[in-house]
């Protein structure tokens, strides 16, 4: 059951009406900017980000309202509604302006979003934004560390392997990583879990910390790392193949270029050719690919978290699916998409810095 007082924490309908003017002014400004041949001024990437946001908006806002039957039913799902009192339902209908026109509903929805109101999770009995914020650090820790480690190891192995193409090391690496990348991510996680946590029993089975252990300081850090080891290893393993194969193939093609020949001719030391000439140039496609891998990375981290019951967004999603907590799923979709889009934007900017040709071309 939802505590009405907690739901009151979100912005009241009066507050929204008060902001009505500024909302329409903003809308009019956007419309004006758009009609003035905005397509020419807004870079292509930003346009596609806007389309992606519109898609998420239609999934979260339009789709549940198109469903047959009661819209509140569609937004909150059967299970939540059974648990709600009549006053609670009436309150939500008022809050979401469900008894008003579509325009009013959209206004209510968008203003709620601007205030960080993603709805109410009946399962956790808290604001969706709070629930997601609490889970976020674990996901960021796992995904971020895994991305950095996998990219570093992948680049180094890729350069070494590509530079010594055809050697036993190269053949072994290519064969094993190609084989590994065939496995679905969650099964790699399951196998690590079964080997190290179930059979050998050397690492913890689930969670991010030991419950009620009361660790402080260094022993707390050690505990977190022990819990992180298996999910992190799984994340690195599933990503390694992509980075490795891309770096290796880029280095192999680069070795045929004339600047490598020049470097060799002027007597550059081997290590310098490998890392400063071939390696530096291989960074460009690897950076682009890293950016393009980020949506994939987030999907992967969701799966790996679920396998290891790691308390991040993935486990949250799992709970939301089994509890049919629709607002929570919607909130996760929105947060994940926003993260992906902003990281992509950062990668675009980083790419401009890394490749002077792109910078000067603008």
């Amino acid at each position: 059951m939802i505590n009405p007082r907690e739901a009151e924490c979100s912005i009241s309908i009066e507050g929204r009406r008060g902001n009505g003017h500024s909302f329409w002014r903003a809308m009019a400004l956007i419309a004006k900017a758009w009609s003035g041949n905005a397509a020419r001024y807004i870079p292509a990437r930003l346009q596609s980000y806007l389309i992606a946001l519109a898609a998420i908006f239609s999934l979260n806002f339009i789709l549940p309202r198109l469903m047959p039957g009661d819209p509140l039913h569609a937004i909150y799902g059967d299970v939540a509604l059974v648990a709600m009192t009549d006053e609670m339902q009436a309150h939500l209908i008022r809050q979401l302006s469900l008894d008003k026109s579509w325009w009013d509903q959209m206004q209510a929805y968008l203003l709620g979003l601007f205030h960080g109101d993603l709805g109410f999770s009946y399962y956790y009995r808290d604001q969706v934004s709070q629930v997601i914020l609490a889970a976020m650090p674990w996901t960021v820790l796992l995904a971020g560390l895994a991305l950095v480690i996998a990219t570093l190891i992948g680049i180094i192995l890729g350069i070494e392997s590509g530079y010594n193409r055809g050697s036993p090391f190269d053949r072994g690496m290519v064969a094993s990583l190609m084989f590994l990348s065939g496995f679905p991510d969650f099964f790699v996680g399951v196998l690590l879990l079964l080997i190290f946590a179930v059979s050998l029993d050397v690492l913890p089975l689930s969670g991010a910390t030991s419950a009620y252990a009361g660790y402080h300081g260094l022993s707390y850090v050690a505990d977190v790392l022990r819990h992180l080891a298996l999910p992190l290893a799984a994340m690195v393993l599933v990503q390694l193949g992509d980075v490795f194969l891309l770096t290796r193939n880029t280095v192999v093609t680069l070795l045929g270029e004339s600047f490598i020949l020049t470097a060799r001719a002027k007597g550059c030391p081997e290590r310098l050719i490998k890392y400063a000439h071939a390696g530096r140039n291989a960074l460009l496609p690897v950076t682009t690919a890293t950016g393009m891998r980020i949506p994939h990375l987030i999907t992967r981290v969701l799966f790996i978290e679920i396998v290891f019951s790691y308390p991040g967004i993935g486990s949250l999603l799992n709970t939301a699916i089994s509890a049919r907590d629709y607002p929570l799923i919607q909130g996760i979709l929105l947060v994940v998409t926003l993260t992906v889009l902003s990281v992509n934007l950062l990668v675009d900017l980083l790419y401009m810095r890394l490749d002077p040709r792109v910078r000067y071309a603008h």
């Binding site: 397509a39 292509a44 346009q47 596609s48 980000y49 389309i51 992606a52 898609a55 998420i56 999934l59 789709l63 549940p64 469903m67 569609a74 799902g77 193409r165 055809g166 053949r171 290519v174 064969a175 190609m178 084989f179 990348s181 065939g182 496995f183 679905p184 969650f186 099964f187 399951v190 196998l191 879990l193 079964l194 179930v198 089975l205 194969l245 193939n249 192999v252 093609t253 393009m292 949506p295 987030i298 999907t299 969701l302 799966f303 679920i306 396998v307 999603l317 799992n318 699916i321 089994s322 049919r324 629709y326 799923i329 919607q330 996760i332 979709l333 994940v336 998409t337 992906v340 889009l341």
Partner: protein, 282 residues
Amino acid sequence: MHIDPLAEIRQDPMARMGLFILAAISLMALFAPLLSSYSPNDYTGKIFSPPDMDHPLGTDSVGQDIWVRLLYGARTSLIVAGAVAIISSTLSLLIGATAALIGGFYERFCMRTIDAITSLPSIVVMILVAAYLRPSLMLLILLISALSWPTGARIVRSQVLSLKERAHITAARTFGAGKRHIITTHILPELSPIITSMMMMDARRAVFMEAGLAFLGVSDPLVISWGKMMHQAMAFTYLDVWKWWLVPTGFALSATLIGISFLSFSLEAAMDPRLRKGNVRL
């Protein structure tokens, strides 16, 4: 020199292995009723029984024979793979080719949409839509196709753009060839190797997505799927059942994915002249 990718991959050990794996899985799916004396929905009455002569992989938590469910699970995976490969590659071909041939605002709009869809977290989108609309196999196939065509469309577009400028097409145009003639006799045949590799890519993604969603608990309740079996088995890792329930199912799924990957790797190597010189092949 004309390259025949099909003749080329016949020589490749990797492609042979991929074909062998896929053939084995297809046979399993095709002859499922002959390979087991049980029906996938039979309850044997014995739960968690270890493998024996009667049940090659034992029984699961509700007493269903795991081996027969594994066989029928192959059907689901292959159906999803085939259907998505066809729908998604048709969409890729249509949208990618028209974008390249028509150009202008339509092309820009298609490209921005493609970028937008590829930057969406597809698994979460599918979970949400499936939650609203109740998951069914048909819905999953349509959803996976709707989210996987953009990658292929981008490849088709760039290929058609470069084909459009080739000398033989300009030559055909000077001889008075119509648009339709150029598309059917010059552009489509040149695209066929790319379409093949695109279909493999889509099929692989589809098998993974279907299993992944089922592993997360989003699946058609009436369909037997490897992902769903793993989802159910994950709840019992504290018992010994994972040895004949979770692990064989996972390996069946992995084998299917690896079979498709190997075949498409070798096809790609056969088609990309830079990779052809033994750069990737072992």
